[in-house]
Amino acid sequence: MKGVYVMSRISATSSQTVNVRSLLDEKRSKKLKVRKLENIIPYLLLLCALVSILTTAGILFTLLRETVGFFSEVSIIEFYTGTNWSPWSGDFGVLPLISGTLLITVIATVVAVPLGLMSAIFLSEYASESVRKTIKPILEILAGIPTVVYGFFALTFVTPILQSIIPELSIFNALSGGVVVGIMIVPMVASLSEDAMNAVPNSLREGAYALGGTRLEVAIKVVVPAALSGIIAAVVLAISRAIGETMIVTIAAGATPSLTMNPTDSVQTMTAFIVQAATGDTTFGSIIYYSLYAVGITLFVLTMIMNLLSQYISRKFREEY
C-alpha cells in the first residue's frame, strides 16, 4: 500500500509558511495545457468502446462473406430443404443439423424449465432469507463449471446410468447430452426467474394472504402471473444458451447427422458439426470451410432472435412496475 506520511515538523509560527494562492496561480498556465490534452480523452475512450461494435460488425462480415462464398457453390434452397448432411460426400442439407439442435434444445428445456421454475418458486416464496443466501450461490456454481466438464460427465456418468434404464440407448445419444445441457441452464432459469419473482411488490402478496390464500395459492395465482414476462424472458434466454452450447453435445451426443426426433439416437448439432469440421483437415477456401460459416450464420441468427425476443419481453416487463 501507500507509504506512511511523516508530517514534517512545522510549528504554527513557522516563518516560511507557503502562500497557496500564489503557488496555485503559478501552476495555472501549465494546468491549462494539460486540460487541452484532456479534451481528447473522451474520443480515445470512444475508440475503445467502438471495439465492441467492430466485433459485431466483424462477426456479421465473416459470416456473411464466407456464406456468400458457400452459396455460390451450393444452392441456398438445397441447403435449407435438404435432408441429408454428409459434407464430405457433397450433400449439404442442413435440416438434420437443425433437427439435432432442436432435439437437444427440447430435451434441455423439458429438464430445465420445471427444475428451474420450481427452484425459483422455492427460493423466492418458501425459503428463508438465510437458506436463499446459501443455496443461490451454490446453484450459480453450476453455471460456472466449464462445459467440457459437463460433457465428460454426460458421457462417462449420465449415459451409462441411462443405458441401464434404456438398454437400446447408443453410447452417443441426444438424451444424455440434452439432459446435461438442461442441468447446465437450470441456474440461469432459476436465478433470473427468482429475480423476476422477487421484483413482484410485497403488497400484491399481502393482499392475497389477507384473503386467506396459502403460500402455494399466492405463489401460483399471484406471484407467477405477475412475474410471468420475466420468467418467459429467462426461459427464452436459457433456450438460446442451449442452442449455442457446443462441448456437451460434441462429446456426448455424437457426430451422426440424422433427421430424427428419437432421443435415444445419436445426432449431430450445428455446433458439433462446426467443431468436427474445424478439428479435421479443413483447408482454407474449401467447400467444407465455407460450410462452417453457412451453419454458423444459421446458428447465429437463431440465437440472436431468441436473445432479442428475451430482451423485448423483459423490457415490457420492466415497464409494468
Binding site: M7, S8, I10, S14, V18, V20, L23, L24, K27, K31
Partner: protein, 268 residues
C-alpha cells in the same frame, strides 16, 4: 414587488461595490421546462455569513449551487441573468468552472470524504491544481486541518481512511479539504443536517471563526441556526427570493407576510 424589495433589502450596497463577493442579477433557472428560480437579485457581502432559509423545494439548494455552477451537474439546466464574482460574470462562456470552484469551495449536505486517508482528502485540492511538493502539501494539510478545528483529533490518524471518522469529524475534514486551496468563499449546503447536536455546535463555532478570513454562504432548514450564526439572511419561497435583510431585522421585523408566516412556524 420585487422592485420594492431590491431597494429595501440592500443596504450594504450603498457602501462600496467591492464589499460584495457575489452580485446576483436577474437570475432565472430551469430544469428542462420547469423553472426553479425566478428573477433572483442578491448581493452577498464579503467576510460575512449569509444564510439562505426556506421550506424544502423552495430552490435554496439550487440557488447555492449556482454560485459555483455545481448546478450544471444536471445536464438539462438552463440559466439566464448573471452572477458577478469580482468583475466577471461566472456564467460567461469563457469562464472556466475549474477556476471558479478553486476560489469558491463547497461543503455538502452529507459528509462526503473520498474513500482515502485523511491526509489525501485534504491534499486533494492542492494536488489536482498542480502542487506536488511534499513539504508544501504537509504544511497545507496541517494548516487546513487546524483551520477546520480538527487537527488535534486527527493528527495521529492522518493515514487512516477518512471513512473511519465520526460523521461530525468527517464533515470538518470536508471543510478542511475545502480550505486547503484557500478559497475566497465557502458554500455550505445544509452542512449540519446529517450531524448530531454536539457535532453541529462544533461546526457552528467553526463557521464563526472562518468568517474572519472567508465569505460564507450557508443553506439551512434550521431557522435557529440561521439566527445564531448568520449576519444576513435570505428567505426563499417557490423559487423566489422573498426577503433578504440583516438577520436580526429579518427575524424580528420581517416586511413580508410570507416571511413572517414562515419564521413563526405557520408553514414549512
Amino acid at each position: 414587488m420585487i422592485e420594492m424589495e431590491k431597494q429595501s433589502v440592500n443596504p450594504v450596497k450603498e457602501e462600496t461595490a467591492s464589499s460584495n463577493i457575489f452580485e446576483v442579477q436577474d437570475l432565472n433557472l430551469w430544469y428542462g421546462d420547469d423553472q426553479a428560480l425566478y428573477e433572483i437579485n442578491m448581493d452577498i457581502p464579503k467576510y460575512q455569513v449569509t444564510a439562505i432559509i426556506g421550506p424544502s423545494g423552495c430552490g435554496k439548494s439550487t440557488f447555492i449551487k449556482t454560485l459555483n455552477r455545481m448546478v450544471e451537474m444536471v445536464p438539462s439546466v438552463k440559466t439566464t441573468g448573471a452572477i458577478n464574482y469580482g468583475d466577471q460574470n461566472i456564467y460567461e462562456e469563457k469562464y472556466r468552472v475549474e477556476d471558479l470552484r478553486m476560489k469558491v469551495g463547497m461543503v455538502f449536505q452529507k459528509p462526503n470524504p473520498f474513500p482515502k486517508s485523511v491526509y489525501e482528502n485534504v491534499a486533494y485540492g492542492p494536488k489536482i491544481h498542480g502542487i506536488k511538493d511534499k513539504k508544501t502539501l504537509d504544511q497545507i494539510v496541517e494548516r487546513s486541518l487546524r483551520g477546520a478545528a480538527i487537527w488535534d483529533e486527527v493528527k495521529d490518524r492522518l493515514n487512516e481512511n477518512a471513512f473511519g471518522l465520526s460523521g461530525g469529524q468527517q464533515q470538518r475534514v470536508c471543510i478542511a479539504r475545502a480550505l486547503a486551496v484557500e478559497p475566497d468563499v465557502i458554500l455550505m449546503d445544509e452542512p449540519t443536517s446529517a450531524l448530531d447536536p454536539i457535532s453541529t455546535s462544533k461546526v457552528e463555532e467553526l463557521i464563526q471563526e472562518l468568517k474572519k478570513e472567508y465569505s460564507i454562504v450557508i443553506v439551512t432548514h434550521n431557522m435557529q441556526q440561521a439566527a445564531r450564526i448568520s449576519d444576513r439572511t435570505g428567505f426563499f419561497l417557490n423559487g423566489e427570493l422573498v426577503e433578504y435583510a440583516n438577520t436580526n431585522q429579518l427575524f424580528q421585523t420581517p416586511t413580508d407576510k410570507r416571511t413572517e408566516d414562515y419564521i413563526t412556524g405557520r408553514f414549512g
